[in-house]
């Protein structure tokens, strides 16, 4: 069994309560940090751990913390990003539902490290049940003296609040999230200034993902060096993977970074193979925004090496033959799925979620949606593929926030790897409406794990 640092106790009955969570060693990290470490020492441990942000961008958390401006007499804020709206991602909801104190404990330690006296957990509005769960956990922690004034007699004060969103994917982007928390529309801000200098209420602010914050707990308990021993290379620690799509056992898995993708998909410890005895056609490995890969390229890199679940290995080959770790939203497509239809669906999503500030994003996503719709419904032209690539290129890099890129990459990669399937939609319009193109040469050519090659 692989090492678990976040979900080790997830199956212990009552782990959602403070009492049981403490019986399993919970809140040791708060005691250790507040009583024996200085804020800078906590930041140092996080730096040593090599932890990279789990919200999607993978930026080193310790480094981000050290950028926080600390002008005298100005409040600083920690805001937890629990907006989780990237299609394919459902790990944060899982963690908050079953082991809410892991997040609360992480928030206390992280707030202490950053010198925040008020911190917020911004939860997407649809997660009302999780908001209630967190509020209950916060009340329990406060009762036990882990929150409020003079925590554990150390003189450190912290108030922690839960803030609901209103249903908008863009509020996951950190500056849009800050705007939303200020009671405004979720329009991303132009950077600089970065939140570390001027964030919430114009004060220095750190925004971190739920999983990044929860990972602070094992880092403080065991030390940053111990944490860095787990994983592979610069991909240290464990990662929560949301596994969805056509899998035998979809769900949230904690993996040690470096696990072979093949083992993750096919072994019984994880996803247990493709559902209904079908074959794997494609995978979106890190949430809807990252490039889609055909089965052969997700299992092996272009050099024929086994592809691993790590930041580096998933990105191996760049966008030509690789993808990205992203948020860890792992979506598997079986042989019956239509790539054109899915690309249209994703593009419709981005068009719907564009905040509308930048023309390339607002208009470009709409054009791509229209063209993809006509391809899917048998009215496409052979020139449409080049048109789509052209539009996607004009969006990429030309917008205020990365939503534009996130909308462009899935389209560009689908055409890069599945162009013949798009063409088939044009040349066989009637058939394309009725059935799927099929596996073609994208089929997983490998035997399942455990069988001789």
């Amino acid at each position: 069994m692989a090492r678990k640092l976040l979900l080790e106790h997830i199956n212990v009955p009552g782990i959602n309560t403070l009492e049981v969570y403490r019986q399993q060693g919970g809140y040791r990290a708060v005691e250790k940090a507040l009583k024996t470490l200085t804020p800078d020492e906590v930041v140092e441990e996080v730096k040593k751990s090599g932890l990279r942000g789990r919200g999607g961008a993978g930026f080193p958390t310790g480094m981000k913390w050290s950028f926080l401006a600390k002008p005298e007499g100005v409040e600083r804020y920690l805001v937890c990003n629990a907006d989780e709206s990237e299609p394919g991602t459902f790990k944060d909801r899982y963690l908050m539902t079953y082991i809410p104190h892991a997040l609360i404990e992480g928030m206390i330690v992280a707030s202490f490290a950053l010198g925040a006296k008020t911190s917020y957990i911004y939860v997407r509005g649809e997660m009302m049940p999780q908001i209630r769960i967190l509020e209950k956990a916060i009340a329990e922690a406060k009762n036990a003296g882990f929150l409020g004034k003079n925590i554990l007699g150390t003189g450190y004060d912290l108030e922690l609040y839960v803030q609901p969103g209103g249903g908008a994917y863009i509020c996951g982007e950190e500056t849009a999230l800050i705007e939303s928390l200020e009671g405004k529309r979720g329009n991303p801000r132009i950077k600089p200034p970065f939140p570390a200098i001027a964030g919430l209420y114009n004060c220095p602010t750190v925004v971190n993902n739920v999983e990044s914050i929860a990972a602070i707990v094992p880092i403080i308990n065991d030390g940053g060096d111990e944490y860095a021993k787990v994983g592979i290379g610069r991909s240290t620690g464990t990662k929560l993977i949301s596994a969805g799509g056509n899998l035998n056992k979809p769900g949230v898995y904690e993996i040690e970074l470096g696990l072979p993708v093949e083992e993750f998909i096919y072994s019984d410890e994880y996803c247990g193979g493709i559902a209904n005895g079908k074959r794997l056609k494609a995978v979106v490995a890190g949430g809807s925004s990252v490039p889609i890969l055909p089965a052969n390229l997700i299992l092996k890199t272009l050099n024929g090496e086994s592809r691993l679940m790590s930041y580096e290995s998933l990105a191996d080959g760049g966008f030509a033959t690789g993808t990205m770790m992203g948020s860890g939203g792992f979506i598997a497509f079986d042989e019956d799925q239509c790539i054109v239809r899915n690309t249209w669906n994703f593009t419709r999503f981005y068009h719907h979620e564009s905040c509308g500030q930048c023309s390339p994003c607002r208009e470009g996503t709409g054009w791509m949606e229209k063209v993809l719709h006509r391809l899917e419904y048998g009215h496409g032209k052979l020139s449409d593929m080049d048109l789509l690539v052209d539009v996607s290129k004009k969006i990429e890099g030309n917008t205020i926030c990365p939503l534009g890129d996130a909308a462009a990459w899935p389209v560009a990669s689908a055409i890069r790897h599945f162009r013949d399937e798009f063409e088939w939609h044009v040349t066989n319009p009637q058939e394309a409406v009725q059935r799927n193109y099929g596996l073609a040469h994208y089929a997983d050519p490998l035997p399942p794990v455990g069988e001789p090659a």
């Binding site: 394919g88 459902f90 997660m127 108030e159 969103g165 209103g166 009671g183 799509g245 809807s288 079986d334």
Partner: protein
Amino acid sequence: MLSVTNTEEVIFSPELVTKFKEIVSRYPEGKQKSALLPVLHLVQAEFGWVSAPAMDKVAQYLDIRPIEVYEVATFYTMFFLKPQGKYVLEVCRTGPCCLVGAEKIMKHIEQKLGVKEGQVTNDNLFSWRGVECLAACGFGPVLQIGPEYTFYENLTESKVDELIDNLKLTTAAKPVDQIS
């Protein structure tokens, strides 16, 4: 779009105002506008939607301009700007759920309720719509029902039937004046 069909004055109960107060206390002095989203959620839970007079009242309470409330209520998809059914079935329509049959479920709901997306059934009990990824992709197809936002996962057509029939029964068991 913003609906001004309802111009009746809206009254916030003392319980509601107590909750507003607690929310406003979470932010620094002068930053009470931060309470806007949580307050709108409470208003919608109470009235089933957010009408223009309700938004005006919120603006007054938070000491901000009405336009600041309108622009927020129209930006976020969770806020209903016209009356809905008592139960709004919100089905995830995004890619990963479609891989496991979300489109079939939406068609089934449309047939079962006999109304198109966004419309309300004659008895005012139900409306439905497609929404974007609900962070439950591994357990799809999935739908949620506000204001509690209870999730119903791994949906099948028969599970949907059972859910709708149960909701009808629960409502039938209550005296009429408690409905809506």
